[in-house]
């Protein structure tokens, strides 16, 4: 795909993605004919039941998985891509501070912003601790800080808040919204949690189970204030997921 347009949209076109046969397990068609564009600074949530191929799709967009038919065009922002993984993937032998600092090139002026970033995610006190000494919630916050310190133009997130208790997950979502408002960036966020999808996304892409294709592509019409309102989120959720 050539000729990047001025709009800077991300174009995803996956014709086919197959998991090859391994042992006595047959080859499996994971994704088929998935095509969409993502407007700059939008927050796209890809959702669907587990096993529908949403993480695979994100890995393809990130360039971590190159074994597929189709084309991904990240546009002019392709050098500013950051991935926040399902697990924090911090280096256990480096402190939180070092983990965040390592994401930046040596001598980068943004090193000076690390303390402020640590304050924002509430980890200033824990900056010299090793990740394994901290709770999963704190590790995930550090992973968010590491992603946002880079001021990415495109931020890909793969279920970054799974296996957390509800209050922790909720506070991390608040944190993400806060960070996203400070550094507006294009986000593609994968989750199977419907209310999380509604609360965070400006647009939702539902993958259909079994068919490996897009079942629904819909805009979320909530204001920032409504996103904090449980009832409004639930109402929007029943509107979107009723189909």
């Amino acid at each position: 795909m050539n000729g990047q347009d001025a709009s800077g949209a991300i174009r995803v076109a996956v014709k086919r993605k197959i998991f090859p046969a391994v042992g006595d397990r047959e080859a499996q068609l994971v994704l088929q004919d998935i095509a969409f564009e993502v407007a700059p600074r939008s927050f796209l949530v890809i959702t669907g039941p587990s096993g529908c191929g949403k993480s695979t799709l994100l890995n393809i967009i990130a360039g971590l998985d190159r074994d597929y038919e189709g084309a991904i065009d990240l546009g002019p922002a392709k050098d500013g891509v950051t991935f926040i993984f399902q697990t924090p993937r911090l280096l256990p032998w480096r402190t939180l501070y070092e983990n965040i600092a390592l994401a930046l090139p040596d001598g980068d002026p943004r090193h000076a912003e690390i303390p402020a970033m640590l304050d924002r995610v509430g980890l200033r006190e824990a900056q010299n601790a090793y990740p394994e000494m901290l709770s999963l919630g704190m590790q995930r916050r550090a992973a968010l800080a590491r992603g946002f310190i880079l001021e990415p133009k495109i931020l890909l997130m793969d279920e970054p808040f799974v296996s957390l208790d509800d209050p922790t997950a909720a506070s991390l979502r608040e944190l993400l919204m806060d960070l996203w408002r400070r550094h507006p960036t294009t986000v593609i966020f994968v989750t199977h949690d419907r209310s999380e999808a509604i609360q965070l996304g400006t647009r939702i892409l539902r993958l259909a189970p079994g068919q490996a294709s897009v079942a629904q592509d819909v805009a979320v019409t909530l204001t920032d204030a409504q996103r904090h309102d449980r009832a409004a989120v639930l109402q929007e959720q029943s509107r979107i997921f009723a189909i």
Partner: protein, 269 residues
């Protein structure tokens, strides 16, 4: 803020708990149990009154006599030099081989049989063959010792290379670490525990083989001295040299290898 990849980084490191009290307790237990062993030995020697079982005091006297004449230091330093060279040599080559086998599957399939062969080759065979092929020289001695240790290190490091995390490699690629930063902050820390384990088991293996090599074909070193003492059935000297060298190896273990291992695993919960 200084970049993180300089050793003089201004990022404050947490104070590492050295477990001072637990160290003292460990030493107390060790001293106590060795004292009991020594007493047992002494009682046995006094009861048996056999010239082939001298008392610990007699052995200590021999050790002092050898130390004063300079013989003890002459032989232990010769042995230490061979141990050091063989150790460094085999750690270096074994690590290189192990990492290559861990990384390249085809090479691993091919050389696995060689590795098994060398792992099971008796030290005595490599030693005699090295002396026959390369002559009774120090080079032959060191090569023989290294050949015994290299497969051991290689197996350890191959395990380390195989267990490298794909998750962290992906993370490093995504966050554009580049090859130097990836090596220093992602790859080497994962290999360090395997290296430390290989080093610790390596030292004990290497010094035992060095003694055999010296007994066979060198004219100095603790092994040579033990061989002479054996010809004279001089048990006192055998024990004096053995104990002196065990002491030296333990000092190396406590002052270098154990702190090294503690350091590379300080981040663990």
């Amino acid at each position: 803020m200084a970049p993180v990849s300089t050793s003089t980084s201004s990022i404050p490191r947490p104070a590492r708990a050295l477990g001072f009290n637990s160290t003292i307790e460990r030493f107390a237990w060790m001293a106590g149990s060795l004292l009991v062993l020594g007493l047992f030995w002494h009682v046995l020697a006094v009861v048996l009154q056999n010239r082939y079982l001298p008392t610990p005091v007699a052995v200590f006297d021999i050790m002092m006599r050898e130390a004063e004449s300079g013989e003890l230091w002459k032989h232990t330093s010769a042995t230490l030099a061979r141990v050091a060279i063989a150790f460094i040599f085999s750690m270096f080559i074994g690590t290189a081989i192990g990492l290559a086998l861990g990384k390249y599957k085809t090479a691993d399939k091919f050389f696995d049989a060689w590795l098994t062969l060398f792992l099971n080759l008796p030290a005595l065979v490599t030693i005699t063959l090295c002396y026959i092929w390369f002559g009774l020289t120090d080079v032959a001695a060191v090569v023989a010792v290294a050949l015994n240790k290299i497969p051991n290190v290689a197996v350890n490091m191959r395990e380390g290379a195989r267990s490298l995390s794909k998750d962290l490699a992906e993370m490093a690629a995504m966050y554009k670490f580049g090859s130097w930063k990836t090596l220093r902050h992602v790859t080497l820390p994962q290999l360090a525990p395997f290296f430390a384990a290989a080093a610790r088991s390596g030292l004990s293996l290497v010094w035992k083989i060095v003694l055999v090599v010296e007994a066979f074909g060198r004219s100095n070193g603790v092994g040579y001295r033990l061989a002479i003492a054996f010809q004279e059935f001089d048990v006192g000297t055998i024990l004096a040299y053995a104990l002196a060298f065990i002491l030296i190896v333990q000092i190396i273990e406590f002052t270098i290898l154990q702190p090294l291992q503690a350091r590379v695993s300080a981040w663990r919960r």
